[in-house]
């Protein structure tokens, strides 16, 4: 116990690579949306994607759990490995992959079901619970991880759509962690939330880092600076700069990064 600060530090420094992307290209029909992106995302780290609107942050994020497969005109090339396994390999079932790589969306999107059923949705589909008590436990654990358990424990069977925006987003995070993913992708998870709900979600993200590799797209540079350890700056489909968050914000190498964080492009 006496060396607790020491261990935390080791968590950050002694990281292993969770996701390795090499030479990734994404096309929407004829539009070349992602160009030659190479990036290595570490485990138990929060990685922020920043960049002006339309630069391809969401597109790249969605290649990591093959959500782009649901868009007909979208085509992905290159090599993306999670734990060394090529996720675009023919043998990989994208549906299974998405259980392992959870996703939280920009606008909170709870299903029109009860809070309990929202969280139990993933575990039920993937048969994670042996019985009802097991499922109850999974739901409770997920809601606690989502930092929303105390607010909803007395109304688990009320509809999820009846919660406030911030609560809905934390419910969606709880829903995503209920399937026990290894990576959590978040696409501007706070852009529809007020400042108080935002800081609650940010705290939660910091918590989640202990167990997951978190990738977050954000428009707010303050948010990137607050929650992330690594930052990637995208511009016009290119990954311009990638490194320690502190370094990107204080001492960027590329002039485009500097212009963006000082507010000259974006």
């Amino acid at each position: 116990m006496y060396d607790a600060p020491h261990t935390t530090e080791r968590d950050v420094t002694q990281t292993e690579i969770k996701i390795a992307a090499k030479n990734v290209q994404v096309y929407y029909g004829d539009t070349h949306a992602i160009k030659d992106v190479d990036v290595q995302i570490e485990d138990k780290t929060v990685t922020a994607f920043i960049g002006p609107s339309g630069c391809g942050k969401s597109t790249f994020l969605r290649t990591l759990n093959r959500m782009n497969d649901t868009i007909d005109i979208c085509r992905v090339e290159g090599d993306i490995r999670i734990d060394g396994e090529d996720i675009y390999d023919k043998r990989v079932d994208p549906v299974q992959l998405r259980a392992k790589v959870g996703m939280v969306f920009q606008k909170p999107n709870p299903f029109p079901k009860s809070i309990y059923d929202n969280v139990a949705y993933g575990p039920r589909i993937h048969g994670l619970a042996k019985n009802k008590t097991d499922l109850d436990e999974i739901v409770e654990r997920a809601l606690k991880r989502g930092a929303i358990w105390n607010e909803v424990k007395d109304r688990l069977h009320a509809p999820g759509t009846g919660l406030s925006g911030g609560q809905q987003q934390r419910l969606c995070i709880a829903r995503a962690v209920a399937t026990e993913p290894e990576v959590l992708l978040m696409d501007e998870p706070c852009s529809a939330l007020d400042p108080i709900a935002t800081s609650q979600v940010e705290e939660l993200i910091d918590e989640l880092r202990k167990d997951y590799s978190v990738v977050i797209v954000t428009h707010s540079m303050q948010q990137a600076a607050r929650v992330s350890q690594k930052t990637a700056f995208f511009h016009l489909g290119n990954l311009v700069e990638y490194g320690e968050t502190g370094k990107i914000f204080t001492n960027p190498e590329d002039p485009r990064t500097e212009s963006y964080i000082t507010g000259r492009i974006g």
């Binding site: 992959l97 392992k100 969306f105 999107n109 589909i125």
Partner: protein, 487 residues
């Protein structure tokens, strides 16, 4: 002057007014159209509308009201004595009108002299003959009172037409001068015209609504007349439907209502699963190309006249059922007409209705909901079953209720497919009859319109109206609350 001539003249005055109004406005601006408040056409329309609307309104009101007035006056002229037993004042009045029209036509074709036609002392027998030989229909021998009434009727028609012409033309010219005196460059012609057009639109909308109200009122009137002749407790309480035009009918609604609901139920059993599955396929699975082709193709089905479905029921579905369940097959079915025959045809008719509404509703489920499900590792079919359909459920229920209300009101298919036997039976292979078919059969044929056997049609119609109105209101309420959920 006949009414259509008058109408054309008013139109002509309006056209002249249009040109004059535009000219006057332009003159007041010294020929510079930029100095006008509105575009110059608006000054013309201002005058034209001021001519047309009041004059045509007066014309229409006159056409509706004056016949009522002449009828009432002439009816007063007919002595009680000339209304025979077994006849009625209405019939005599009809005879008067026929005679008057006969006189008019005979004079117009020159076969009877005008003075002779006006002669109040003319011999009715001779007049009957000369009318007959002039080719005019006269049902019975004329009597002096009827002839005189007819002559009075004719005279009133003539003076009426004269007064009408004068009044309408006066109003039209009044409108013309009113409009022209407005045609000055600072007059806000555009605003006035647009206001007027708005009122015209309101009038059109009110006519549509008032007509509906009128239909309901006429139904209510006749329904009340029916219940004065036949006890409501019998109508709503009796389980037999046995009209006999000689009297002593039993007019219980239940066998008919049962047939209606049973056939509608079979129809929904066919239409709801097929329609819903088609909608799920079209909205969730079909490629955009296929969808662009298949959706309109399915909706074309909705444009087929229901009588065609009726023929299909009678000629195809019935014989098909007979070959399976008939004497040669299972032996449960005797005739081609049955609940199943009509129900299946009606179900086919309702498929596009259900599928098109459900398709819209499924498409209204936000994409974010599907993404959320895919993001958790759900497959397409899990997403459809567990997220999309539950989210769309209230709307789909609404769509089904709307389909049910169409099924209940459907007539032609059941007339041809369901049969005429009123019975309360559970066997779907037996012929049964519905409320709508009975309305048709009670009112066609030569039943006396004042008998309960004919009037019952209105009570049946009213019941149907209340039933479907209730269903529609309920369904629209559900659909609307559902739509608001995602706005």
């Amino acid at each position: 002057m006949p009414a259509y001539w008058l109408f054309l003249i008013v139109l002509a005055i309006a056209a002249v007014g249009f040109v004059l109004g535009r000219m006057r406005a332009l003159q007041s601006a010294k020929g510079d159209s930029r100095a006008l408040h509105s575009l110059k056409g608006y000054y013309g329309w201002n005058v034209a509308l001021k001519v047309l609307i009041p004059a045509l309104l007066v014309l229409v009101v006159w056409q509706l009201a004056y016949p009522l007035y002449t009828n009432a006056t002439v009816a007063g002229l007919i002595p009680e004595a000339s209304v025979n037993d077994g006849s009625s004042a209405d019939l005599v009045l009809a005879e008067v009108r026929r005679t008057a029209n006969g006189l008019e036509a005979a004079v117009a074709s020159g076969q009877i002299a005008d003075t002779q036609a006006r002669d109040t002392l003319a011999d009715p027998v001779a007049m009957t003959d000369s009318l007959r030989s002039a080719g005019q229909i006269v049902t019975s021998e004329l009597t002096t009172p009827i002839l005189n009434a007819a002559q009075h009727y004719r005279a009133m028609g003539e003076t009426g037409a004269l007064i009408r012409t004068v009044v309408v033309l006066l109003v039209a010219f009044g409108g013309l001068f009113w409009g022209l005196s407005d045609s000055y460059k600072d007059f806000r012609a555009r605003n006035t015209v647009e206001q007027t057009v708005k009122y015209l639109l309101i009038a059109a909308a009110s006519i549509a609504i008032l007509t509906t109200l009128g239909i309901v009122l006429s139904l209510i009137g006749n329904t009340i007349r029916f219940f004065n002749l036949y006890p409501a407790s019998e109508f709503f309480g009796s389980l037999t439907w046995q009209p006999s035009f000689g009297g002593g009918s039993e007019l219980g609604i239940w066998p008919l209502l049962w047939g209606t609901l049973y056939i509608s139920f079979v129809a929904l059993l066919v239409a709801v699963p097929i329609g819903l599955f088609a909608a799920v396929y079209l909205s969730e699975y079909a490629s955009p190309k296929l969808r662009a082709f298949a959706k309109p193709a399915l909706e074309v089905l909705a444009g087929i006249p229901t009588i065609v479905y009726g023929l299909f029921a009678l000629l195809t579905i019935g014989p098909l059922l007979i070959s399976v369940f008939g004497p040669d097959g299972a032996g449960w079915m005797t005739g081609t007409r049955s609940v199943m025959t009509a129900g299946i045809a009606m179900g086919i008719m309702l498929i596009p209705f259900v599928s098109s509404l459900s398709d819209d509703i499924i498409n209204a489920v936000p994409q974010a909901m599907r993404d959320g499900s895919y993001g958790l590792g759900a497959t397409k079919s899990e997403t459809v079953k567990q997220v999309v359909l539950p989210a769309a459920l209230p709307g789909i229920v609404g769509a089904v209720l709307l389909a049910a209300s169409r099924a209940i009101g459907e007539t032609m298919i059941v007339v041809l497919g369901a049969g005429a036997a009123a019975r309360l039976s559970l066997n779907p292979l037996e012929a049964m009859t519905t409320v709508t078919t009975r309305i048709v059969s009670q009112l066609t044929g030569d039943a006396d319109f004042a008998s309960p056997e004919a009037l019952v049609a209105f009570a049946l119609g009213m019941t149907l109206f209340v039933l479907t109105l209730g269903l529609n209101v309920f369904a629209l309420y559900i659909v609307r609350t559902y739509r608001e959920q995602y706005d």
